[in-house]
Subunit: 489 residues, 3 copies
């Protein structure tokens, strides 16, 4: 019957099941786990293995000396003894000294060696430590892994049981046993395939926020540009033209005009790539062409762009809130009061100013509120708890609301001042004029996609339709999760 | 050969560890995973499977065309070829075109089909896509799953290895192999039982924050009510009575009186259901009666109510901090200065006003601080890291502290103004009077539960005691985790 | 022997399932899961098990009465019946009534009993409930677990599939089947080894933030000390010396001088232990000596110290932002305006004051920004998503930046006022002078470590070098993850 036909092959996959014989072996009296080396890492490893209910044998050059550093349940002995007793051996010595283990070769033959070593910096050319180990011990089954876990993590255990451990090996069986070991220690094993991935795995610990590089560079360069621009307009101009020294504005006022500009432009840059993707698909009349790589990378960086934008927006909020508490504000107010009294003006109320400020403040606060919602939902644990419709609703719908709010905030801030000539020192337009270009472009581009004809065509394309060929074909080949097409988000 | 020598012992370790025969099959040279369809989803799926160390065969209508879109390790071939090679086949074509696969029926017989399809909207009546597929291929073992995972998630991988995949099937063996596959891909499989659950699983991606609907509706309606109320009192009244136009208050001042009211009422609504539950149990003299469903639902929504309340409170804080930076505040201050000078009052200091404000500000800040602690601990990853005593300490004890603080904040804000007639325009009481009803009721109700007699009885009941019958019985039947009874939290 | 009798059926459950025979048993028609007791916990457990695709038999004293409370898929029957049918039985009755189950002894022989019970308070002496159960049923295989999971968690399921369940037992096979069951329910099993750990597991739910006790006590005592100190200087002194009553400062001003002091000292205390560790290693000329236990504990508490510091800093920010909105500030301003007018001073601008404030404000904001980055990355889910180089970059590099910023903030705030005698009421130095001692000490200590000679020596030591012995030896014994040595962070 078909069920039986399927079994043998299906059964093969995954961490397989038990048989009475096996279970007997699984009881702790079975073979212990070996560890070679007595550094911090092997110490923490031993502690963790013991805590996970394993017997542990640590192989050391001078067992007596290291004894104090290990949990008492762990047995300390000579390297040879450990290699002989255990079937699964962690090699926790410096890669440059793997060679000193050669004497253990016969004892390690036919056993699983886990290479947990790290290099000292990124190793592009290879060969990886794991490969070198495999060459030294051709008769053992080398598994690469655990190098991304710090002694620290091992000691305290994964904070919430969702710490990933990347494994690779050319020996699936050895890899399986390590996978199970790893899961029993409370980590999440991730199979990276053949030992050829070991180089990549060894480089993992050396990456320093690769996905953040571009967004941060963008933020900084925008910041510098706008800062200089505002410095020119607000500080240098009055100094040169009217000999008025307002350099005290540099630390706060100028920064506080710069931050929102950066925030808004960055926010626009979050939604630009999605638009580009949509328009490219419309242009190609298919979704099966690859996007240019820069667009692909941009699409995957949107979250980082968004968070940078949020950071600037939040700082802008704090800076603004600080304004009234400054001595400079106080002095200005006092002098204004003095003038008013001298001039005998009983009521200096200007309704337009009041309305303008009340409006752009309230809109600004709402924009910030929306942005913080977006920021919260980009936390891994929150993002994992929402389904993709919710995710895209927040990131796309709420995101565009936030963008519109922020734009409106800027427009209200600008009010009619874009048209008064005294806003153009050195013929430089006010900052908000420059800033508004991006978000307005994005918002208009998005609106265009709402035009019935365009919207319909785009939907067809995303369902797999192509001008060139018979519909039926592509549809069957189509993507059944087309809804959450990347460029929606 | 060494491999064999190693097996018996290595195999022993970890859960499962399959027999030699199996492990032979598990090595990559074993049966590959098949994918039918070449959309975004199948592309990302293929990439992920290859990364997890599987051999992948993709069945396409025209392999050549799709070739560029897939990782080179994935083998592209005809649908028939893929169906024949693989034992576990992902069906990634639009459900409405499952029929076009009928030609593969013989090849797919006795194999595991994973239906990853989604509908276009919620499907209440059924039948589910999975059922339809099962009807088309009666001799295959259909497993529903992965439809809640987006192509996006597949590509970038689960952010922290805790992404859940819901699976169901009528064939436990097929389900097991998919479960293991799924875990090896770094996801967390969740067994949903029989294929009858497939409809529910297919609807999952279409839910849009179901648990948030009620709380958000509550917040909005409260907001609208209080906004209109305050608008009437603070804006319309002076306009009608004294022809004084203070409409500029609408964007900020009025909102800023409304937000705290909503926040406080919502916070009271977080702790009301727990009280109701306790009083119901006291009334019934048993904990074995079911709560009315509205109460049950309310109890499960407390977190959402709390977060809405926090959001309002935080916005209230920002609005308040914005007050002094507004032009309106500036003008008022200047005019006040003018008046003071004209009147020749050297010191306008009013000690009571000062004390009132200093007090309610500081209490308010503390309340906000506590609320943000509560908000942080409701993040999934944080909530997972605390045991339930800690959780209930934060959510219940700290929560009630926050509630009391917020109430005190409002009382201090009110000071003695509730008794001055000029606070009753149109005979409308000040907002804080209305608002205080709820929290005071909750706090008094909670205090009542501290009365020794009541507290003792409640403890008994929660330990399983019932008036009606012999104690011994219920106790043995009782709940041994009674401590963290839901209504504590 | 009973073990064997139990195997075939127990083995069948979970994703084990290797041989055809097993898989046949794994299909739901196989042996059901038994639950004894009908409390909240067993109800939620039943619901969850059913949802995970298991057959469930609940043993109750009076099945009829409890029927309504359970999901209809769960079968309710007598305790004896349940004990007979199931091979894996959850014992969900109060520990003090385990004895009432003795009648089931023959039925439970050779089966797996899961003891989910909790005590009523921490039980230091033992024996644990699990041990007592094991003594009552010597022929059954007792597994301790699930007591850390609340009925609540069972009902809603783990928020993001990363909820840990701690298991221990003296019967590895029984433990395995529970492990698999537990994983299939969507939890993360953590093997705690032998039943001897059951006491610890039973105490887990009673711990109340053990790792937070010391940091919080530190924060509070520092707060009290500084508060009293500032009260003496700013409130009591003017009252005694000039009969000037400024008690209104107590709720806000005094608190707002106290908070930053606490925050800065706490932040210094985060980086002090790392320094101590480094200097101890330099002094010992080895990294193989154990640190004194107080230092070990301190090193593991740095995160909590940091978060306390951040909390104070954040509150300080809010308090400061509140300053200008207070009535007291308003009155002071008005009176100042009055004086200025009376004195006929047209411009009261003092450039030094302005610069001082602008500078320390902006530096303070940056420090807060950095601190919040640190706080965010200490969220479990975020911390799990970064590799240790990124983590140590944030916690160490950015952390020291934040510390320097905060110190600079304080220095700028102090300006030259440390040298004016009128800042020494009662000969008490200004608070910022006291506060600066710690951070400056830490920063200097850190700088000293950058001296080439010191830095080199330290690096050698951390690579395993020791004065006493031959290099080659220790290196091979060394730690290959030395890079992320704890004292870096």
């Amino acid at each position: 019957m078909p069920d039986d036909m399927a079994r043998p092959l299906v059964r093969g996959r995954g961490e397989g099941g038990a048989s009475r014989h096996l279970e007997a072996l699984m009881s702790e009296p079975g073979a212990p786990i070996g560890i070679l080396g007595t550094g911090d890492f092997s110490r923490s490893l031993a502690r963790r293995l013991v805590a996970s209910g394993y017997r542990v044998v640590v192989g050391s050059r001078n067992p007596k000396r290291s004894l104090a550093l290990f949990p008492q349940d762990a047995e300390l002995t000579s390297q040879m003894e450990a290699a002989t007793q255990a079937d699964l051996v962690f090699v926790a010595v410096f890669p440059e000294h793997h060679s000193t283990l050669l004497q253990l070769k016969p004892a390690l033959a036919g056993k699983t060696l886990v290479d947990v070593s790290n290099g000292l910096q990124i190793n592009r050319g290879g060969p990886s430590n794991a490969h070198q180990l495999a060459d030294l011990f051709p008769e053992s089954f080398v598994v690469k892994g655990f190098n991304t876990i710090s002694a620290w993590n091992l000691q305290v255990g994964p904070r919430d049981g969702s710490r990933q451990v990347f494994l690779c090996s050319d020996h699936p069986n050895a890899k399986n046993s390590v996978t199970q070991l790893c899961r029993r220690m409370g980590f999440v094993p991730v199979d990276m395939g053949h030992l050829s991935s070991s180089l990549e795995i060894e480089n993992l610990p050396f990456y320093l926020f690769p996905s953040w590089r571009v967004p941060i560079v963008c933020t900084l360069s925008l910041f510098i540009f706008f800062y200089l621009y505002n410095f020119l307009r607000d500080v240098l101009h009055p100094f040169i033209k009217k000999e008025k020294s307002v350099f005290y504005k540099m630390p706060i006022d100028t920064v506080n005009v710069t931050l929102p500009s950066v925030a808004l432009v960055m926010l626009a840059l979050v939604y630009l790539p999605g638009l580009c993707a949509a328009y490219l698909q419309l242009w190609w009349c298919t979704k099966y062409n690859r996007f240019p790589s820069w667009l692909d990378r941009w699409l995957t960086r949107r979250k980082q762009f968004g968070l940078c934008s949020f950071l600037c927006a939040a700082l802008h909020a704090i800076y603004s809130l600080c304004l009234p508490m400054r001595k400079s504000a106080r002095y200005k107010l006092l002098n204004a009061a003095f003038k008013q009294v001298k001039a005998g003006v009983e009521d200096s109320w200007v309704d337009e100013d009041v309305w303008r400020m009340e409006l752009y403040l309230s809109v600004g606060i709402m924009a910030l509120g929306l942005l913080s919602l977006l920021a919260v939902t980009s936390l891994p644990s929150v993002a994992n708890a929402v389904n993709w419709r919710e995710f895209s609703f927040i990131q796309s719908t709420l995101g565009y609301c936030a963008l519109s709010m922020a734009t409106l905030h800027t427009l209200l801030f600008g009010w009619n001042r874009a048209f008064s000539p005294d806003q153009y020192p050195f013929h430089l337009p006010p900052t908000f004029v420059l800033v508004l270009i991006f978000p307005l472009a994005v918002l208009l581009g998005r609106l265009a996609l709402f035009l019935p004809c365009v919207a319909l065509r785009l939907r067809q394309i995303r369902r797999g339709w192509e001008r060139s060929q018979h519909i039926h074909f592509t549809l069957t080949d189509g993507d059944c999760n087309g809804l959450e097409d990347v460029s929606d988000v």
